[in-house]
Amino acid sequence: MRVLMFGWEFPPHIAGGLGTACKGIVEGLAANGVETLFVMPNASGDEDQSCTRILNASDVAVENVSSTVDEFLDKVKFINVDSNIVPYVDPDEYFEAIERMKKEKKTTTTIGFGQKFKFSGKYGANLMEEVSRYAQVGGTIAMEHIDEFDVIHAHDWLTYLAGIAAKELTGKPLVVHVHATSYDRGSDDMVDTRVLAIETRGMQAADRVVTVSDLTRNIVINRYHIDPAKVVTVHNAVDFSGRENLTVERGVKDKVVTFLGRITFQKGPEYFIEAAAKVLKRTKNVRFVMAGSGDMMNRAISQVARLGIADRFHFTGFLRGQDVQKMFALSDVYIMPSVSEPFGISPLEAMRSNVPSIISHQSGAAEVLKYALKVDFWDVDALADDIYALLQYPVLAEFATKQGFDEVNELKWNGACAKLKKVYESLV
């Protein structure tokens, strides 16, 4: 089995979680005997190619391959790039990027055939333009390598057009992989309709739609109206190989309860704050930390002040690299109260760092984690109760920590990719 895979990024240069997931997937597929040819917009050359061959779209010139494709490309090439694009999930730089984008001047460009295009491969001002150019290059690459793959696999909306182009040209089956949807990124009335259109088109054109959780599968079926028969859930995994947990000296004696992620509507920060206030009414030897940044940060700070718990509630701002590990090492309880989370890898990281986690039922991770505590995101009383219990009943915390650690170490990409391989096999 050989797969032509379209991604947007690949470690070590990543902004969001998509690149990490893609690396896990190609490695897991390799372990299952599936070869992959991984196309990305802007490869740096230092990617780990031990499990896949990486093709850099920036090195490929667009060719005028056939008339039917011309028509297709005509449709995509004039997508206007004049406004902000909601990026793929979780790029914490996005906040800053918007500011940057506002300052930059944008131009609309048309594409000349026979030219190479230097992709940025980021989530910047030219995102829409890059997405449409990527489709053209993707089609070209598919034709050049037509004898080297059996299935096309495209990760998230950024690459769907490339996937469609490849399918139209080669006639080979297309799998689109939904890591997040527009409905997870914005609330109902704030969905970017251009992204939505591309997502819908990708899912409709696909022979199979792979989702990272049943929660996402339901969104794909109910909001995008895709035939349930072709939507398959393959839960995410995580690769912890070679990772050592940090030991950090603590400055405070109090227990620490942590929220770590973007401070945005979807992550449910206000529920965390409300629960913190409830717990603090009852017990004093505990501190709450909100690590991250986002458009709801100022609101969160005012909420903390209004509730009068600022002496026990701390904001760290956006954490990078080692600081994330340190934060986990300092934590006694980790909370992910997301309103809508396609999967949510952070509780797995926390549990790997020996921190018991409370997650919302509205996350894909809740479908696979048996040893995380679970609440509905809106049920602040239940959340407060669970926090209190983990602080007050040491046996519970020990049990959740020990079992949780073992559990997340077992969530390997090999298993997920065996399921993915079956999806491919059903198509050829």
Partner: protein, 397 residues
């Protein structure tokens, strides 16, 4: 000598705890979900207790007392029935008056006290004995423990309390090549008879009866009686949860009709009759002793205690409950003792089990809690409040 068919039905309704948040600790000491408990009791009464009791009473009358069964009704259940469905108590009384029904003794709160402190175990056994006497006017002489938990030493303790007959699970790992269809005696107390459940014949009725994929489906009273007739041995111990007749297996499965047909069918055969556990103990001599050093139960494939005390959460909750026993023993507060009993009910620990995780399930169906964690947290919150009350009561003394 005729082969004795011994039917025993367990009647148990848990006194379920309400959603008890940590905000409630020290403020509100009502622990039970009265509405859910009432609903469950009413439903069981309607689907199982009332129609089945009527079928049994009818059969006893028709066979002139030759149809016989045994019941064990926990004290907690008697309290719930008395409160929400007194007509069920009346119908059990009617059965008691026939003389063909034996009422067994158990721990009042259907608890795990037999593996806890001996004094607490004894207290609950005696409390239940008194309750059976008060409700039905008969003194129980046979014992059946919660979930059929049995070991040599539990049996020996009960012998000291006056029980000469005890029921147990016919677990393969203790019987080995021996058959459950004979009367055995306790390894430590020769005079105590042990009746082992024939799980195969029991499960035919309690689970497989309604399974349409079962090769023997549909099971008729005639076919089942043929199996009873062809089984080797002196006694056929068919023990089950009463609610398998009408509730877990609804009337639409035909189980009630089956039970209507069974008495006449069995009594029509020359080789079979019905006997209650204490009659069997009198009629049949022991064929030998069975050694059971570790407690067994009728639960799961393992037939052990891991469903209640299998993980750290369950053990912690169990230990914390029984750590209070000494403090309570100096208090004479009826309300505290009643709550203490209900906290010991076995299902509280069962809901904390993580055993079902191994089957790949993330959430369980047979618990009011979504996860074992929720069950533990809720229970520990209640226990925290209870602890405060005990300490206050001691301080006032």
């Amino acid at each position: 000598m005729k082969k004795s068919v011994c039917l025993y039905f367990q009647v148990n309704q848990p006194t379920g705890l309400r959603l008890y948040r940590f905000f409630d600790i020290g403020k509100d000491s009502h622990y039970y979900d009265d509405y859910a408990n009432r609903t469950a009791v009413k439903k069981a009464a309607q689907n199982c207790y009332l129609p089945m009791n009527e079928i049994i009473l009818d059969a006893i009358k028709k066979t002139k007392g030759k149809f016989k069964v045994a019941f064990s009704i926990s004290g907690s259940t008697l309290e719930l029935l008395d409160r929400y469905a007194p007509e069920v108590i009346e119908s059990f009384r009617a059965l008691a008056q026939t003389g063909s029904v034996e009422f067994l003794c158990e721990t009042y709160y259907n608890s795990l006290a037999s593996v806890g402190p001996e004094s607490e175990f004894k207290l609950q056994v005696m409390k239940h004995k008194e309750a059976v006497k008060a409700f039905f006017g008969v003194e129980p002489v046979t014992f059946r423990n919660t979930e059929l938990i049995y070991s040599d030493s539990i049996g020996a303790q009960l012998y000291e309390m006056g029980f000469k007959t005890i029921l147990a699970e016919g677990a393969r790992h203790i019987l080995g090549w021996k058959s459950a269809n004979y009367v055995y005696n306790n390894d430590l107390k020769e005079a105590q008879k042990v009746l082992f459940r024939n799980y195969s014949l029991s499960d035919d009725l309690s689970f497989r009866f309604s399974d349409r994929n079962w090769s023997e489906w549909p099971l008729t009273a005639e076919k089942y009686t043929n199996w009873l007739e062809s089984a080797e041995g002196d006694v056929l111990n068919i023990f089950m949860d009463y609610e398998n007749l009408g509730s877990h297996q609804g009337a639409e499965t035909g189980i009630l009709e089956f039970m209507k047909d069974l008495p006449a069918e069995v009594l029509g055969r020359k080789t079979l009759d019905f006997q209650t556990p204490s009659e069997i103990a009198k009629k049949h001599a022991s064929v030998g002793e069975i050694s059971v050093p570790q407690p067994t139960s009728w639960a799961d494939e393992e037939r052990d205690l891991t469903a209640w005390l299998g993980n750290e959460l369950q053990q912690e909750a169990f230990n914390k409950v029984y750590a209070l026993q000494e403090k309570l023993s100096i208090l004479d507060d009826a309300a505290l003792w009643a709550d203490y009993g209900h906290l010991q009910e076995s299902q509280n620990f069962y809901y904390m089990s993580t055993k079902f995780f191994t089957t790949g399930q993330v959430e369980r169906k047979d618990s009011p809690y979504n996860t074992p964690y929720e069950a533990f947290i809720n229970f520990m919150n209640v226990l925290s409040d209870f602890n405060i009350r005990v300490n206050n009561a001691i301080a006032e003394k």
